[in-house]
Each structure stands twice: as C-alpha cells, then as structure tokens.
C-alpha cells in the first residue's frame, strides 16, 4: 500500500512532501500518476508532475504558495468525474487532490445550511440529513461519488435542477485559496447576498481557474411532503417533445423532466440497472413532481392526460418507492451504461429552447448518419439541456477525431437555434473552441481579463475554459489535431 519513504530526488517533490501529513500523501511515480492522466473526459490525457493530498486549508495554501513561488502549474481535483476535462493536467500540473478534505463540518437545520469540505461527496450530504427531513437539491447523475467542491467548480446541475436550480443557487459561502496562496472568505456567515461584486457567483462555475475552494456553505432544503414519478413511452420523438412543452405550458413545474431516446434505452437496458423499457420506442419521458401532498394527485392526472393527448403508447405513475427508485437508478447511471454498448463515448452538453427539441433532435440524427457514429440522447428535456452521447471506439484509427467533430457539430446546432454549448458539464478542454459559437472575441476577452485579476500568471488550471487566441480556422484545426495526437 503506502510506500514509506520518498524515493524521488526532484527538489519540488521533496519540498511538497514536507507540506503534507505523511510521505504517502504525495504521489510522484509513473504507475501511480497514470491513474490521474484524465477524468471522466477521456479523449485528452496528460500526466501530472505529482499528486498531493492536503488535509486542511492551511496545507492547501502552503502548497499553492509553493507552486506560485516556483512557477509550477497546478490544479485542484475532486473525484475526477467531470465530463469536460477540467481536471486533466494539460501542462504537467501538480494536482492538488481534495478528497482527503471530506468532512461535514456542521449542519444548521434551523437556518437550513450546512458547511462541508470540498471533498465531501454530494449524495452523502442528503444521506446524512434525510432522516431529519432535509436534503441537498443539486443532484448530478454522478452524485454517488462526485464531490461538492467539484460541483462548485463546474456549477453542476442535475435532473432536479429544473425546479430547484443548479449549484450556484445553493451556495451561500465559500472559503477560497487564491492562486498566490492567500485565503479569502466569501459569503460570510452564510449570507450569500453580500454588498459588492457577486464573487460567489463568479467563483461558482469558474472551473477551477480562479482559486481553490476549501470550505463550502450550502443551502439545504426540507424534503417535499410528497413526490410522484410518471414514466411515458412514445413511438415518435416529436410526440414526446410536444408532451414536454405541453406539461410546462399547463403551468406544472416538474421537479424533473427527463428524456431518453432509442439508442440510450438500448444502452441502459443492456447495462447493470435495466427496468424492462421496450426497445422499439423512440422516446421515453421520466417526469417527477413534488411538493405538498394536496396538489400532487391532480398534477399527475394532468400529466397523464397531456401524454395521452400526444399519442403516448403507455404511461403510468410509479406504483411504489421501489419502482420509482429503479427508474431513477436506470436513468442516473445512463452515461456509464454506454460502456455496455460502446467502448468509448463522448458526451455533449448543449442547451436549446424547449420548443426547438424536435428540430434539434432530428439534426443530431442527421449528424449521426453522416458521421457513421451512433448518438444516444439522455437529457434534461424540461430545461432543454441536451446530452448527445457520441458512441465510438478509440481503438479504431480516426474514430476519436470523428467523434469530436460530431460532438462539435451537435453544439453548433444548439448554438444556431439560439441555445448554448454547455448546461452543466462545463467547458473544460472539450468545448474551448466551441466558446466561439456563442461569444465574440471581445466577450471572451472580458472574461479572460477577470481571470487575469485572480490568476495573473495563469499557473492555476491553464488552458481550460477559453479558446486559444487566434481566429484563423486553420490554426484551430491544427491545434485540435495536435491535441488529439
């Protein structure tokens, strides 16, 4: 297991090893580092210089200061489940792993807030407070293992963000180690709306480029009195899409409104949590409503009726909690389930106006046909947050490039209908160039100017979030090719 003595002669490794608790809290050998050469986005890979495991803010600050003073690139990593490559050490960074900082520091039910360390796992918060009748709302599908620190960096969303909002709506305060090692506190005493600039909003979703979060105050919510889930099977995508629009138009605000298409259904049914969805339907909807007991039955009736009006093949409410849980497990493990039908996948994260759903899905279908790659769709239909999953096999020469092109084309479609390129997964490495689909040079400049205030030497997580300067399409193409190889 843990090797006792530091064998490296590298002066930085030796120095960093004195800043953590134990010699086993730093990794520097090739075999150990290789597990860190990518996160949930596996197309780019790069090996870090070292991985360090601090256990408190002070250690993080010291490590950051050391890197800053010695011009070593560095970045923070949580569980490494990100889907846009935000934790990949493109520049041979020192990775500061936050997973040892995994304590739940306090729970304040009266004021409905909790303070956690960044390595605390999302679902653990809900599991810890659920018996008292509370929960933490943002629920990315990776919530079984992703960390709240990572959620803050990516401003993570989830199935239930349709009604409750994404991570940024649930963050009340942060302790942040700035890229020079200084420590600041934002949202003091858990009061989010402080005078001055909205730094909480700025840091949340900054993809680890402005600072490293070491303490997080989150909002917790009272469990809804009641919830109910409906499952609907459609023979035509258009009918399913129309049902989505009609549910919202009817004035219902579902807690979640999810869609899966045929290829996605094939994947989840071939994987570990099948529930027996028919394989010949074009789309399924998973619709959840929650709130006070009194209105739920009526809303469910309305939803059933809307679906029937749209030629639904079969629609029904979950008969018990067990069935409801099985439907959700099937949905929430959907991305990983693609492994059962494809060796690799690339997930995109476009956002579109709901009304454009049928049009966009048919365009994505066309991209699939043209590229010869299958594309599965599992997504948050209610807020128009699409997740086209491009299925490919990296072992076949040229397929990775084709998949990236297809993914990019999907985002172009989203941007062209008035949407945008990411809803919740972040830009990372993956969508840097696609930022140009939605921002002009001046708009990107305004953002990099802000980054330069916090992170002037660009040592912290460099090369993420923004496109590289230069407008020539040829340059872009070359860079992409270089990055892939």
């Amino acid at each position: 297991m843990a090797r006792k003595k530091i064998k490296s002669k590298d002066k930085h490794i030796l120095a960093l090893s004195t800043l953590v608790n134990h010699p086993s809290a730093i990794l520097y050998e090739k075999e150990d580092l290789i597990a860190y050469d990518c996160d949930g986005f596996t197309i780019h890979k790069a090996t870090p210089k070292a991985v360090v495991f601090p256990e408190n803010t002070e250690q993080v600050a010291k490590i950051v200061k050391y890197c800053h003073d010695h011009s070593l690139p560095f970045l923070a990593r949580g569980a490494g489940t990100g889907l846009s490559g935000g934790a990949i050490p493109l520049n041979g960074e020192v990775i500061i792993s936050m997973v040892k900082m995994k304590k739940l520091l306090s729970v304040d039910l009266e004021n409905r807030r909790a303070v956690v360390e960044p390595g605390f796992v999302n679902l653990k918060l809900t599991n810890t407070i659920s018996d008292k009748g509370y929960y933490y709302a943002p629920d990315p599908s990776s919530q079984y293992c992703c960390t709240i620190g990572g959620n803050v960096a990516e401003n993570a969303g989830g199935a239930h963000c349709l009604k409750y909002g994404v991570t940024t709506n649930h963050i009340l305060g942060l302790e942040v180690v700035l890229p020079n090692g200084d420590v600041i506190e934002i949202g003091k005493n858990g009061i989010a709306d402080e005078p001055g600039y909205d730094l909480l909003g700025l840091i949340t979703g900054s993809e680890g480029t402005l600072g490293i979060v070491t303490k997080i105050t989150v909002r917790i919510l009272k469990n809804p009195e009641s919830k109910q889930t409906v499952l609907a099977y459609f023979d035509k995508v258009e009918d399913g899409s129309q049902a989505v629009s009609d549910i919202i138009s009817a004035g219902i605000v579902p807690a979640a409104l999810e869609m899966m298409d045929k290829t996605a259904i094939e994947g989840v049914e071939a994987a570990a949590f099948p529930v027996g969805h028919p394989k010949d339907i074009e789309a399924l909807l998973l619709i959840e409503v929650d709130g006070i007991e009194a209105g739920i039955g009526e809303q469910i009736e309305q939803i059933l009726q809307v679906c029937r009006n749209q030629n639904v093949r079969e629609v029904r409410a979950a008969k018990d909690e067990q069935e409801r849980a099985a439907w959700w497990a099937n949905r929430k493990t959907g991305f990983g389930a693609m492994g059962a039908i494809s060796p690799d996948y690339l997930v995109q994260d476009g956002v579109i106006p709901r009304s454009k759903l049928p049009e966009v899905l048919s365009k994505i279908n066309k991209i699939s046909e043209e590229s010869g790659l299958r594309i599965a769709n599992i997504f948050h239909a209610g807020d128009g947050n699409l997740h086209p999953l491009v299925l490919f096999d990296a072992r076949i020469p040229g397929e990775t490039e084709k998949a990236m092109e297809a993914g990019s084309a999907c985002l172009k479609v989203c941007a062209d209908v008035g949407g945008t390129i990411t809803g919740e997964h972040g830009v990372g490495i993956e969508k840097r160039e696609e930022m140009r689909f939605v921002f002009k040079d001046e708009e990107i400049q305004a953002q990099t100017d802000i980054r330069d205030v916090f992170n002037p030497d660009n040592l912290l997580n460099a090369g993420k979030l923004f496109p590289t300067p230069g407008r020539c399409a040829e340059v872009k193409k070359e860079m992409k090719a270089a990055a892939i190889s």
Binding site: M1, E31, A35, F53, A79, Y144, G336
Partner: protein
C-alpha cells in the same frame, strides 16, 4: 523490483506483435476493460479508495493501470503490483458499475501475470507455497493441521503460550488471529469418509451434493454439520463426493492460476453426475461459479466448467428457492446480518439469508448500515495486507449495532475477520453462520 532478466528469458515466445507488456498466456481480457468508460461511479463503493483517496487504489484506476500495461505504457513491476494486490477483490465495484465491468476478473488475470513475471521469493514464497500447494489441496495434511490446532487448544499449550507471553513474538495481526481461533472439531469429510451419503430425515425430495471446503471443514466443521442437518431436515439426501478438494479461490486471488485450474478440474470431475452443488462458503461459491474464467484457453474445459457452475448454489438461496420448514421454537435473540462480499456482490444473494433469519421465531433483526461493505477478510488478504485489512475492519465495526447478541453471515473468512473485530474492539457479539441459527432453531424444536 521489476521482472528480472533471468525471468524475462523464460517468458513464452511472442505470438503477436502487440505492444502489450503481458508476456505470459492467460493475459487480462481486453473486452473486460473495453466496457469501462472511466465514469467514476465505482469510486465510493471501493474500500481501498475510501481509505486512501488515491485513484490507483480505486476500481477505475486499477482497470486503467491494467489497460496501460496492455498498451505498453507501463510494465509489470512492483509499482504496478502494489495497487493490483491491494484490491480486496470484494466486487463492490461490480455492483456499483453501470456498465457491468468485470473488475474482479481483470484483477485476478493481472495477478496471474504478475506472479508469473515476478514469482515470490524468500520467506513469502516459501510460506505461500507451503499453504497454497502443500496444505490446502491435501485433505490429510489439512486435517493434520486441524489436528495440530486442536492439540494446541486442548493440550494446554494455548494457555501456556498465552500465559508465558510467548505469543508476543508473533506479529500483531497474527496474535489477534490466534485469539479468535474457533474451537476445532472433527472435519466432516473425515467423519463421513466411509459413508458419503447422508439420508434425508423423512421422505427424500431430492439429492444434493455438498462442498465441504478446506478452511471451512477444519476450522468450522460445526457449520458443515449444521448445513447437513438443515438440508436433511428439509428432504435432501446429501452426498459428499470423496474426490472434491479446495475450490481454488485462495490460489486464484493470489495469482496462482495454474493451481486454481488444477483444483477446478479436480472438482469438476469429483462433482460429475450431481444435480446441485450446495456451498456454505460465499468465497468458494463465487469462485466455483466463475470456473469458466480459468479456461479461456481450454475450450473443452470451459464448457464443462460452465455446466458445473450452473449447478453451484449458496445454501441460503437453495433453501429459499426450494422451500424449507419454518422452525417453531423461539430463539429469542437480537441479531444483525453482514453481507459477505462474495455472496452479495459476487452472487447477488442478499435477501434470501435475511428472509431465513426472519422466519425464525423470536429473532429480532437489527439493520446494519453499509451491511454489504467488505470486512477486510477477503480470503487471506488479512494476512498479506494487515494494515489495510485492519483499517477496513475498523470502518466495518463502526457500523455494527452495539446492542445485538449475534452477527450472522455466510462466509468463513468473514467469520474469522469479524470475530477479530469483536475481540479487538471489546465487543461481545457472537459470530454465527446463517444456517447455524436455523439449525439451532430446529434443534430447540426437537428438544421440546
């Protein structure tokens, strides 16, 4: 440490021109890692990741390392061996994985490569050879070892060793093990060697064969006895095939796949002609259901192994599925249930043993949080990796409810490890096998 030059010269000739650094036959199977998309859903399920927080000690990290050796990015060396052998092989990741990646299979195949590339030397090699080759596969020697242990306990030597502090010269984890050694009785296989069919009490409904196991029969022959009682009580003739041997799980976990294959073949032959093979040790049951994995390069045996595996069933699932008489006597006890990894994650048997326990009148079942989390026993892991096994055990014990009289489970390895936990943390729960409780309830009923 890496593969020695001398050992490299002994590697088989190249049969293809891949970059793979797995040089011996029976290499990790590419199709197994092709299922992994690196999503990370396995992380929190993994006890060694929980302890270390390090990705090379997580399921997806290990899969990635195993794949990297095949791609020629890493070689088989000590740094690679470390995470591969630190895996508990508990299979919790298999339950968590959305794509059903067979991490356990990959780990075992990788261990096979490591052991061929870097054979154990020195005292480790000698000890491992003594037990894995010299004792477990041989009935007589195993029984003699049992006899020695029994002599140790009964002759007063145990008391002497403990009182004279002679025990202090042993490593700490072995002392802890010595303290919980169960009382040794006569092995079942020896007891029934001249009469290997035990008739059902009352009308015979069917005939089943039973695996007596190696450790099980020496250390826990009373559980084997209970298994026979419960089976015969419910209309089963029990056959104990003479030529059966150790299932080979310990060998396969240790990377000794050749010995694993040898034992598997012996068992496949020994149980030929039987319809059902009842196993009361989760680790053995899981191994025997996976025998085909060992024969990827021997199609004829693979087919026989598949047929064999279909017949293998855990005692609790068998009773649950074929029906059993509910005991009428009350046991009046508070218990909790621990899921053995190779029962819950390995064989998907979770509810059946709980149902059996709930059917015993007077049994008050208390829920154990994270009941399907590994206890750290993991075959002989607690001997080879005592630090990690100790840390995993500590987390396990934190979840055991204070106020229960007994902890029930379905695997001898877990029983020894949990007994150690009880001893180490000053608890006073009794460690029992699920069938024992059922057997006791039947016995109590008969006494009335």
């Amino acid at each position: 440490m890496a593969v020695t030059e001398e050992r490299l010269k002994q590697s088989p000739p190249c049969t293809n021109n891949s970059l793979s650094n797995y040089l011996w036959k029976d290499a990790p199977d590419e199709n197994k890692w092709a299922d992994c998309v690196h999503c990370g859903m396995c992380l929190e399920s993994c006890p060694t990741y929980e302890q270390t927080g390090q990705e090379q000690h997580s399921p997806r990290g290990r899969v990635y390392l195993i794949k990297s050796v095949a791609e020629g990015k890493l070689t088989v060396n000590e740094q690679f061996m470390d995470p591969v052998f630190a895996c508990l092989d508990c299979r919790a990741c298999t339950t968590a994985c959305p794509a059903d990646v067979d991490v356990g299979g990959l780990i075992e195949e990788a261990r096979g490569q490591i052991r061929q590339a870097m054979p154990l030397t020195g005292w480790q090699g000698a000890v491992s050879k003594l037990f894995l080759h010299g004792i477990f596969p041989h009935d007589k020697r195993l029984q003699s070892l049992g006899g020695l242990l029994k002599f140790y306990q009964k002759s007063g030597m145990q008391t002497l060793v403990r009182k004279t502090k002679l025990i202090n010269v042993m490593p700490k984890h072995l002392v802890e093990m010595e303290a919980i050694m169960p009382e040794i009785n006569q092995p079942i296989k020896k007891k029934y060697k001249n009469n290997n069919i035990i008739k059902a009490k009352g009308e015979t409904k069917r005939e089943v064969a039973m695996l007596t196991g190696c450790v099980m029969d020496v250390m826990f022959s009373d559980i084997n006895e209970s298994t026979i009682n419960v089976l015969t009580r419910n209309g089963n003739d029990v056959v104990i095939p003479k030529n059966q041997t150790c299932c080979g799980a310990l060998h396969v976990h240790a990377g000794d796949r050749d010995m694993g294959r040898k034992l598997a073949k012996q068992n496949i032959e020994a149980f030929e002609g039987t319809e059902k093979i009842i196993v009361n040790a989760a680790g053995c049951g899981c191994m025997m259901k996976e025998y085909e994995e060992l024969f990827r390069e021997e199609p004829e045996w693979k087919e026989r192994a598949e047929k064999f595996s279909e017949k293998v069933e855990d005692i609790s699932k068998f009773l649950h599925d074929t029906g059993y008489e509910k005991p009428k006597a009350e046991l009046n006890t508070r218990i909790t249930y621990h899921d053995a990894c190779h029962l819950a994650h390995g064989q998907g048997v979770r509810q059946e043993p709980r149902d059996i326990l709930l059917d015993i009148p007077g049994v008050d079942m208390v829920h154990m949080p994270n009941a399907d989390r590994c206890c750290g026993s993991a075959g002989i892991y607690n001997i080879t990796n005592p630090d990690m096994a100790g840390a995993v055990l500590e987390s396990k014990m934190e979840n055991v409810p204070d106020d229960v009289e007994m902890i029930s489970m379905g695997n001898p390895g877990c029983m020894l490890q949990m007994a150690m936990g009880v001893e180490k943390y000053g608890r006073n729960h009794k460690i029992v096998h699920t069938v024992q409780l059922l057997d006791w309830a039947y016995q109590k009923e008969a006494e009335k």
